[in-house]
């Protein structure tokens, strides 16, 4: 692998390290702080399960982060991850509450602003909504769980020593679950920005499973988290103990379980599939802050007990963190991108051009969009999404969904189908029928993603997206991820000017 790629990945590893150092304390902090679990045991369990969570279930939340903004150059990913890590590091040093999720979202927005990309407001509001929902949900889970645990303990009447032994075992179990959820949910923060530019390719594991490029990337990130846990988290764990409110080991267990459930809910593709198949509304898969989940759970228990023991000032600081962290991170990222681009002469983003060529206009007409109004800009090329959108909005007023469609039809993305680019495992993943259709397009070139998509779904249903309903969500997601793969694999990148 190119040494430069490794060098660029280091910022993700730095972010992973700081996540391991800080967030592992949320999972095992009280257990280690109260000496219920030894640090070495906690560190080993935490590292193993963070890695498992990241590799097995890490993809879900990464997808939403990818929607927010697709950082399309390795140096850009480096700067985004580095800015987020720096923000987390600074704010931790200044004893301000900080969330890795919020830092990375800020950094992506900073990149979007710098590269002239459009921040998907739907994805942004989805993420912002979950930041508020995450501690609330944690509190709503923790309070009844605490009450239930109390009832069970009252009924079971364990000896104090036996309860101690059970609590230790339960804390390790909860910590393992928490670490798995942390890995699944937060790996997107660490390695998500590198996904679109991932240098790794899939490889076959003895014919029975495929180790995808994303999983390889997540494995490296998770190892960095593990290193963070081993090297730096002990200090944080020992101080995290009872920051917000004194907790008994049993209450600590409730907090860890509630935190883990919340992180798991926001990361589990399995649960999403289950809900979608049952026709129920799904939970957005978004990287959320584990610190805030813990705070929510502690406050939930605190309110249940009358709220006397809660330090409300800390809560105020956390809410302020929702605003300050992304802003600081966005500003740092913007400045750093300028610096890296102009001083180190690195390509921090790949220009994405937009043009309503006659072909694209035909499509616009077909889809019933106001083509007449857009005639003025037909044939003109714009170097980024913001400039194109401004030009479009100058001509006509479009609804949000119309705007998204016009942007999609005008985005130039050159692809050329050369099937020998596909590995055996790629072919297996895509499916025989789909590969056959892809092979039939061999040698053809396309200027737009939608052209390729149209060509693929023209003669067969295999590449067709179904109507957007809850039940079809999972299927459409699978098709979209395969389409994304095809776009990425067969893209013909124009050299930067």
């Amino acid at each position: 692998m190119d040494i430069v790629i490794l060098l660029f990945l280091t910022s993700g590893l730095f972010l992973g390290w700081s996540l391991g150092a800080n967030d592992a304390a949320n999972v095992f902090g009280t257990a280690v702080g109260t000496r219920m679990v030894q640090f070495t045991t906690a560190a080993i369990v935490c590292s193993i399960f963070v890695i498992l969570g990241a590799v097995i279930s890490g993809a879900g939340a990464a997808h939403t982060l990818g929607k927010l903004g697709s950082v399309n150059a390795l140096a850009g990913s480096f700067v985004a991850a580095f800015s987020a890590a720096l923000t987390v590091y600074w704010m931790t040093r200044a004893s301000l509450p900080v969330s890795t999720s919020q830092a990375i979202v800020g950094a992506i927005i900073g990149w979007n602003l710098f590269s002239g990309s459009i921040t998907d407001s739907n994805a942004l509001f989805k993420i912002l909504g979950t930041w508020v929902a995450c501690p609330l949900l944690a509190g709503l889970i923790a309070a009844p769980l605490y009450k239930l645990t109390q009832r069970i303990l009252k009924w079971a009447q364990f000896h104090l020593l036996r309860l101690d032994a059970y609590t230790r075992a339960a804390l390790i179990f909860a910590g393992a679950f928490g670490s798995y959820s942390l890995g699944a949910n937060n790996i997107a923060n660490v390695m998500g920005v590198f996904l679109p530019v991932s240098p790794f390719t899939d490889f076959d594991l003895g014919g029975f499973a495929t180790f995808t490029g994303a999983q390889q990337l997540f494995l490296i990130g998770a190892i960095a988290i593990g290193v963070g846990v081993f090297t730096y988290s002990k200090r944080v764990m020992l101080t995290v103990g009872d920051g917000l409110m004194p907790l008994s080991p049993v209450a600590a267990w409730v907090v860890v379980i509630a935190h883990s459930i919340v992180l798991f809910l926001f990361a589990s593709e399995g649960l999403e599939n289950l809900l979608a198949n049952a026709g129920l509304p799904t939970i957005p898969l978004v990287p959320v802050s584990s610190s805030q989940a813990v705070v929510g759970a502690v406050v939930g228990i605190g309110i249940l007990k009358g709220g006397k023991n809660i330090d409300w000032k800390i809560l105020g600081n956390i809410s302020a963190g929702w605003v300050t962290t992304p802003i600081i991170s966005a500003v740092v990222c913007f400045v750093a991108l300028f610096f890296v681009q102009n001083v180190f002469n690195q390509q921090v983003f790949r220009e994405v051009s937009y043009s309503l060529t006659p072909t694209a206009m035909e499509r616009v007409v077909e889809m019933g969009l106001p083509a007449e109004d857009l005639k003025v800009i037909e044939g003109k090329t714009y170097n980024n999404a913001s400039a194109f959108r401004a030009a479009v909005l100058e001509q006509t007023l479009l609804s949000k969904s119309q705007e998204t469609k016009v942007l999609y039809y005008a985005e130039i993305f050159h692809t050329k189908i050369t099937p020998n680019k596909l590995t055996k495992s790629d072919r297996e993943w895509l499916g025989e029928e789909r590969v056959k259709i892809l092979d039939s397009l061999s040698g053809k070139s396309f200027a737009y993603k939608w052209q390729l998509s149209d060509a693929l779904s023209r003669d067969s249903d295999q590449w067709k997206l179904l109507e957007q309903t809850t039940v079809n969500k999972v299927y459409n997601k699978q098709i979209n991820s395969r389409l994304d793969f095809v776009y990425r694999t067969f893209s013909v990148i124009e050299r930067p000017r």
Binding site: Q157, H159, L160, L161, R162, D164, A165, S248, P249
Partner: protein
């Protein structure tokens, strides 16, 4: 896995040791009650000596158990949040055995003259303080297994302690308003106070237990 199984096995052994330690306190109370009954009936006799010997043995066994339990609590870093409270509780409970053993020894050495008209109240006082000790043992057991019940047992401790205070005051008034020589009055008062000390000590433990229980329920 085997490590956690070993932890559960060790925990069971330790639970049994704590139960045995609490049994020692109950037994030492009953032995003390029997010893006083014997003393009031026959003075220092073979039966009384046998009770004193039994009290000594119980005290030694209690000490051994306490040390073993304390060492294990530390070595295995068990109940880290409540360890200090439990160690303190064990020390205080052990003191109850020490007091009963010391009282038996005092009776054997000093052989106080207790006129017959005092016997009934002396016995009543002894039964009340032993009931008080019993209640605090029950309260301690509840602290380990069922904290909801601590309050109930503690209220019994308070009740018996007040009763013991009343009886001991009555006995002291009886002694000092009698024609007994001053030296005997003072000697009697000393023994009344030594017996009553058991109830006072039990009440202190119950007070501490109430606090430990609040801490345990947080």
């Amino acid at each position: 896995m085997s490590k956690s199984l070993a932890l559960f096995r060790k925990t069971r052994i330790l639970e049994n040791q704590i139960d045995e330690f609490l049994d020692c306190i109950t037994k030492s109370g009953l032995i003390f009650q029997g010893a006083i009954k014997t003393y009031l009936a026959n003075g220092v006799c073979d039966d009384f000596d046998a009770s004193t010997k039994q009290a000594n043995e119980i005290e030694t066994r209690g000490d051994d158990l306490r040390r073993t339990i304390e060492a294990q609590l530390y070595e295995q870093t068990l109940i880290p949040d409540l360890r200090a409270d439990v160690l303190r509780l064990l020390e205080d409970l052990d003191n109850l055995i020490n007091i009963t053993q010391a009282n038996c020894y005092r009776f054997a050495v000093e052989a106080p003259e207790i006129p017959e008209e005092y016997h009934a109240e002396f016995l009543h006082l002894t039964e009340t303080v032993v009931a008080c000790v019993d209640a605090v043992v029950m309260s301690s057991r509840a602290f380990f297994r069922n904290i909801e019940a601590v309050r109930d047992h503690n209220s019994k401790v308070m009740f018996y302690e007040t009763e013991a205070d009343k009886i001991s005051s009555k006995l002291k008034v009886m002694a000092f308003s009698s024609d007994l020589p001053k030296v005997e009055k003072i000697h009697l008062r000393y023994f009344i106070e030594r017996i009553d000390e058991l109830a006072n000590e039990a009440e202190d433990i119950a007070d501490a237990l109430a606090i430990y229980t609040i801490k345990r329920s947080i």
